[in-house]
């Protein structure tokens, strides 16, 4: 059989398996192995490719970032960040909305995962917002939408996956994500301000914070914000690799939890490691199986075919980026972000490089694009968690999230059209 036909069979089989709810990683493994079997390719390919997917020093950063995030959570960072945010933003109308968004931005600098941010912030802030008479669906929507910032602001696990798939510098990617991430947050705050004025949401505090309150809150905020500075500073300065930076983040989180906040206890450690192992396994099953499928796609020459097909439509980089963005948005609503990045990056990268677009720039476009997918049904993890936390239907929460997603979309358009916005910081600090 021709390679193209095999590829079609594999992808159709994969789609069927996903629809019936087979775990994504296993669905990829089953369909690709089936392709290997009917085409009589070397049967050891599955193991070899899976092993090459796991055998990466860069990826060993993932469990460290996850572990550091858990230690920060157990160490009591969440309420300190929320406190800090309330001191800064409590006097605005719709204060809790602003606090929610700001806390998501700070959290984005601590953990590499949006779902972790949603769970940490949402479980505290959604009940609080509902108690303060914010509509249920709005409380959930602002939490879900703002937590998407988590994967745009470094550190970011999807960026690590992109760096691996595209062989791009993780340091440059991290730097490139900072400005778009902050921009998404600021735009969301504008949306909140507009909604607060329209709906008459109240303030969180009437008086301005006293100097002492400000200093105490500020100290906690700074301690939390030191974490991304250590990571990025270490990588950008060439002092440590990304993996070493992530391990140092664990050390920093432990010192903070054990000795500064004194809320972390030894009994927290073993459950934290177990949680780290589970989370790592979940993402790595997808990584190893996607590496295997990636090999199959290359065997079927999908990247070349995709390149030709896209270039036959236009050779204008903006048109191509627009098409890729649309494809990624559609795929994003139906599938999960890790497999999307791992599988589609190698498919689109040849044409991107061909057109002279910087892979770092393209990476940020993909990340901002896929962040939106976290809040769009039918597959949107952050949306589902928040709907469940607020005991509100997914449709209602999504409806309320649409204005916030406009902020994501605007930034997506901006980063697509304006490479300078993305590339300025990495070019400045890591030329």
């Amino acid at each position: 059989m021709s390679a193209g036909l095999i590829l079609t069979i594999v992808l159709v089989f994969l789609a069927l398996l996903l629809i019936i709810g087979c775990p994504i990683g296993f669905a990829i493994l089953i369909s690709t192995t089936f392709g290997v079997f009917i085409q009589d390719l070397p049967s050891s390919m599955a193991t070899l490719r899976m092993m090459s997917g796991a055998d990466s020093f860069l990826l060993t950063a993932i469990p460290f970032f996850v572990f550091a995030g858990i230690l920060m959570r157990e160490g009591g960072i969440t309420k300190r960040i929320l406190n800090f945010a309330t001191i800064l933003l409590g006097n605005f109308h719709g204060a809790l909305g602003h606090v929610n968004i700001f806390a998501s931005m700070v959290f984005g600098g601590i953990s590499g995962s949006s779902v972790a941010d949603t769970a940490s912030i949402g479980s505290i802030l959604i009940p609080e917002m509902i108690r303060k008479k914010y509509p249920r669906n709005v409380s959930a929507a602002v939490t879900a939408a703002s937590s998407t910032i988590g994967i745009v602001i470094p550190p970011s696990i999807p960026m690590i996956l992109y760096a691996m798939a595209s062989e791009t510098s993780i340091g440059r990617l991290f730097l490139a994500g900072a400005i778009p991430g902050i921009l998404v947050g600021l735009l969301m705050m504008l949306v909140t301000a507009y909604m607060a004025a329209k709906q008459g949401y109240g303030r969180e505090r009437e008086k301005f914070p006293t100097f002492k309150e400000f200093i105490v809150g500020f100290k906690d905020g700074i301690l939390a914000l030191t974490m991304p500075l250590i990571i990025i500073g270490g990588i950008v300065g060439g002092v440590v690799t990304a993996t070493e930076a992530s391990a140092l983040a664990v050390v920093y989180a432990s010192i903070l939890g054990f000795f500064v906040f004194k809320e972390l206890k030894l009994k927290h450690i073993y459950p934290a490691i177990k949680e780290t192992v589970r989370s790592t396994a979940i993402v790595m099953l997808i990584v190893v199986s996607a590496t295997f499928l990636g090999w199959m796609l290359a065997y079927g020459q999908l990247p070349q075919k995709m390149s030709l097909a896209l270039l036959s439509i236009s050779d204008n980089p903006l048109v191509i980026l627009l098409i890729i963005n649309l494809i990624m948005l559609v795929v994003g609503t139906f599938s999960d972000i890790a497999p999307n990045i791992l599988i589609l990056t190698p498919v689109f990268l040849p044409v991107i490089v061909n057109l002279g677009i910087d892979p770092v720039h393209f990476g940020i476009i993909i990340i901002v694009n896929q962040a939106i997918a976290l809040v769009t049904p039918p597959v949107g993890n952050c949306l589902y968690i928040c709907a469940s936390l607020s005991k509100c239907s997914v449709e209602k929460v999504f409806g309320a999230a649409v204005p916030y997603l406009m902020a994501n979309l605007s930034v997506l358009v901006l980063v697509t059209l304006w490479p300078g916005l993305v590339m300025w910081l990495p070019n400045l600090l890591m030329p």
Binding site: L17, I19, I20, G21, C22, P23, I24, G25, F26, L29, F37, S43, S44, A46, T47, M51, A54, F57, T60, I62, P63, V66, F67, I70, R73, S111, G112, S113, V115, A116, A119, I151, P158, V240, T243, E244, A247, V250, Y270, I273, K274, E275, V277, R278, S279, T280, A281, I282, V283, M284, L285, I286, F334, D336, P378, V379, N381, C382, S388, L389
Partner: protein, 172 residues
């Protein structure tokens, strides 16, 4: 119901992966300290980390499988009747079982061959000891699948109903 053997395996698995994780952490932090305070570095620290990570990954996959938390697209399945849902779950597990048994068989053959004896570049350990992690992973997965068949999927319902654990830091 989960039997004692299964529970024991899982406990051991968690324990081993935790030790490996701590070893990986100490290895990386240690290498930074050695480099900056004592000014020397070993060539094999990267490699040791990678191999520990490979074991964490392939031992962790059965753990997550056992707890039914691997990422899946639940949306379409959630619209179906419970009986069809069950049927699909059994069908998926069957396919997974067949696929990994096939992969496992060829991995065992491969490990016995030339590749299994190749030495790694830094630590000089035969690659078969790394590839065995895949075989262990497949073995544990098969045990769990057989377990599910024997128990008749009785304990899967409760897991289905609370698929979202809010404290779970999934990676998305």
């Amino acid at each position: 119901m989960k039997n004692k053997f299964d529970k024991f395996l899982n406990t051991v698995n968690y324990f081993v992966t935790s030790i490996l994780f701590m070893a990986m952490l100490i290895n990386v932090v240690g290498s930074v300290i050695l480099r900056y305070i004592f000014g020397f570095s070993y060539r094999w620290t990267d490699e040791l980390s990678r191999y520990l990570f490979i074991y964490i990954v392939f031992l962790g996959i059965p753990i997550a499988f056992r707890e039914n938390i691997h990422a899946a697209i639940e949306y379409f399945r959630s619209t179906l009747f419970i009986k069809i849902k069950h049927g699909l779950q059994v069908f998926c597990d069957l396919l997974i079982g067949i696929t990994i048994a096939y992969i496992g068989y060829y991995t065992i053959i491969m490990v016995q061959g030339r590749l299994g004896k190749t030495l790694s570049s830094g630590l000089k350990i035969p690659m078969r000891y790394i590839y065995i992690s895949v075989i262990i992973c497949i073995g544990l997965l098969l045990i769990e699948i057989v377990q599910r068949f024997i128990s008749g999927y009785k304990n899967m319902d409760s897991k289905d109903n609370n698929t979202t654990d809010f404290n779970e830091v999934n990676i998305k």
